[in-house]
């Protein structure tokens, strides 16, 4: 096999487009000369690493945040960040007079450390109406000229065979311009608010592509995302040329992604969208347009949930301007805001309802399934696992994660709407493990002995036919089996993970309630967040 041919086959294998005949030839080549093929594959991986902007600092920061989020290891996180980060992390907040005494007490030498701690002790977010700023000045009309290439101190690397001139004198890694398309018809909510004025953009090039898909999604990896798309029972990951990444959840709809002299616009019609936005030019922000307002972003991590009547914006890092009817609200890290309804909603909700569509699935153990009897028509279904329910969950590779906003210290009873598809021995079909992170539970699961974990093996899933609400054991009517109560340690984004206990268990909704203190009847529908 010639080197050129080997290269072609490996590239096709990496794209998943290799034919069966070519796959057999490549497999034979691997068995005959594995080192040669490995070298080629390794070069691809090492090129990816050489080009990856996530350097030592990004890795260290991400690892520390993950340990903190998943293990509640505050001491570890603080110490780790203090030693491992070369400069303060990205989440920088403006100073406030109220924290000055704290900073003084912490001491100058621990100023950076104190800032990190302070970030995690923020009070509940301010309501939407708390801060109204005038609309920002209009951005300049003219697009910025292309930056000039920087002079290179050394001659560029040339391919061994100088290629003949390319068909295009200066190949651009963007698709050819496409004519403007008429905007999609607006989606009217039941009580239609005045539609926000869209950002004036001209669609010039495809600026985003489908990077990865999960579940039952008809989109293709590499597909141009600019004309908009709908996600089925799965998720789509979109990547922009500048590194911005979107995760678009189940049943969500993006109407259009466009770029123009005034910035980039994502027209988001419905569903849940999580964004990690690369730093944008100040005069060319990335703007998410929903039926209820606009979120203008310079560079941050955020989450948007759009339903028929409202848009909920949660900001994890940085700041975002939320705009409606000419009024602007700045939402900072750890806060959220809701627009589209009447009065602003409470920032300390009594009821939090988590649906399967919101779950981020890792690994293959959980699958989204259509289920007409579910509250939203979709459930999470457990697959088979090599683990026992008594195995510690910390090292398990597959789980479903729900991320949501909740205040610290508030007591929430945990209710799961669940059922089992397995008709056999009920002892083999009625368990699922739930793990709130950075939280305190009122009970400790007997399945995990003395291990310091908040994970709880929920039993009683199959105690009644069809769906039922259970908390810790399905026997919450008894005084000796009180429901699970969780209190989160810090105000902000919280995570709850679900691990497969027994296969064929189906999980509909998870309801965290400050008011529902007794086990609900199976037909009870949790109230909307309030």
């Amino acid at each position: 096999m010639t080197p050129e041919e080997l290269h072609r086959l490996i590239e096709e294998y990496r794209d998943g487009t290799i034919s069966a005949a070519d796959a057999r030839r490549l497999a034979d080549e691997i068995r005959a000369d594995g080192a040669r093929v490995r070298r080629e594959i390794a070069l691809s991986g090492h090129l990816g690493q050489a080009l990856d902007p996530s350097d030592d600092e990004a890795f260290a920061r991400s690892f520390a945040e993950r340990v903190s989020a998943e293990r509640g290891g505050d001491a570890f996180r603080v110490e780790f960040e203090k030693r491992s980060l070369h400069r303060p992390i990205r989440r920088v907040r403006p100073a406030r007079p109220s924290i000055v005494p704290f900073l003084i007490a912490a001491g100058f030498l621990l100023a950076v450390l104190a800032a990190v701690v302070w970030q995690n002790q923020q009070p509940p977010a301010a309501p939407v109406a708390v801060k109204v700023e005038p609309p920002p000045p209009p951005p300049p009309e003219e697009p910025k000229p292309e930056p000039r290439p920087e002079p290179k101190p050394e001659p560029p690397v040339r391919p061994p065979e100088p290629p003949k001139p390319e068909p295009k004198p200066e190949p651009k890694l963007e698709p050819p311009p496409v004519p403007p398309t008429p905007p999609a018809p607006p989606v009217e909510p039941p009580a239609p608010p005045p539609p926000p004025k869209p950002v004036e953009t001209t669609r010039v090039v495809a600026i985003a592509t489908i990077d990865r898909v999960e579940g039952q999604v008809s989109l293709k990896v590499g597909q141009d995302a600019s004309p908009g798309f709908k996600v089925g029972a799965g998720a789509a990951h979109v990547v922009f040329a500048d590194g911005t990444r979107l995760t678009v959840g189940p049943d969500a709809a993006v109407r259009e992604i466009a770029k123009g002299p005034k910035g980039t616009r994502v027209d988001f019609a419905s569903g849940t969208l999580t964004a990690d936005v690369a730093k944008q030019p100040a005069e060319q922000p990335l703007t998410f347009v929903t039926p209820h307002g606009e979120a203008r972003v310079i560079g941050t991590v955020l989450r948007l949930v759009v339903d028929a009547t409202s848009t909920r914006l949660e900001v994890k890092e940085g700041k975002v301007q939320l705009i409606r009817d000419g009024k602007t609200v700045t939402v900072s890290a750890g806060q959220y805001a809701v627009t589209g309804g009447g009065a602003p909603r409470s920032l300390s909700p009594d009821e939090i309802v988590l649906t399967p569509q919101e779950a981020q699935l890792k690994g293959a153990e959980w699958t989204l399934r259509n289920e007409p009897k579910a509250l939203t028509g979709i459930v999470l279904e457990a697959g088979t696992v090599p683990f026992k329910v008594t195995d510690h969950v910390e090292t398990r590779p597959s789980y479903a994660t729900y991320t949501f906003f909740a205040p610290a210290g508030k007591e929430y009873r945990i209710w799961l709407r669940v059922t089992s598809q397995e008709k056999g021995d009920p002892w083999l079909r009625d368990m699922v493990t739930i793990e709130p992170t950075r939280a305190t539970m009122n009970q400790k699961s007997p399945f995990f002995g003395a291990a310091p974990t908040t994970a709880w093996v929920v039993t009683g899933v199959a105690s009644t036919p069809g769906f039922s609400w259970v908390s810790g054991s399905g026997e919450e009517a008894k005084a000796q089996a009180p429901p699970l109560v969780v209190k989160f340690n810090e105000t902000g984004f919280q995570n709850i993970r679900l691990y497969v206990g027994h296969p064929w268990v189906r999980v509909d909704a998870i309801w965290l309630s400050a008011t529902q203190k007794t086990r609900p009847n199976a037909k009870v529908v949790p109230p909307a967040e309030k």
Partner: protein, 184 residues
């Protein structure tokens, strides 16, 4: 900075700061090691983080008389196996044939004992020397993982021509990398 042995000993005694220093010390090497087998940078990132979490959980099992690097690589190798297993269900039958062959030869190569961090560092320097259009092409393909057919459509070229351009660029980069490693 403390010696590695001291860091490991302190980490085993519960000193998480010491473990943080070990993460900083080994993360680039582990990422380069995993990138030998896993091309997508975001997947490499996840696998190495998972590996460090495992290492943190099981540090008491590490024999302090042995080398720490190979132990970490063994953990990451297990993580990679999990990764491949979970990927297999999503792949088509043809790709699974190649995967099977790769797994058969897994661990038989002498050079797997190296982590490849020096190769990544050398490649970074070589990539910086590329012309802008070449760098963009390499970036779209190997960092952003844009499929070849889509890339060809965007550039108005045939997939075969683009594949050949990438082949030449890779050959040039590999040569540049080898020279840098030799001169290092």
């Amino acid at each position: 900075m403390m010696e590695e042995r001291d860091l490991i000993r302190k980490a085993q005694q519960g000193d998480r700061d010491a473990f943080g220093q070990l993460v900083a010390l080994y993360q680039a090497r582990l990422r380069a090691f995993v990138a030998r087998y896993v091309a997508r940078p975001d997947e490499v990132f996840d696998i190495v983080q998972d590996g460090f979490i495992d290492a943190m959980e099981h540090l008491d099992r590490f024999d302090a008389g042995k080398e720490f690097g190979p132990w970490l690589r063994a953990i990451c190798r297990n993580r990679m196996l999990n990764h491949f297993r979970s990927n297999r269900v999503r792949q088509n039958a043809a790709s699974a044939l190649v995967d099977a062959a790769l797994h058969e030869t897994w661990g038989t190569m002498e050079d797997e004992l190296e982590d490849g961090a020096d190769r990544v560092a050398a490649l970074k320097r070589c990539v910086d020397k590329l012309e802008k259009s070449q760098r963009e092409l390499i970036e779209m393909r190997y960092r952003r993982e844009v499929p070849l057919a889509d890339l060809a459509r965007r550039l108005g070229r045939s997939a075969a021509a683009l594949s050949m351009s990438l082949f030449r660029l890779r050959a040039a980069l590999e040569k540049c990398m080898a020279q840098r490693l030799e001169n290092a």
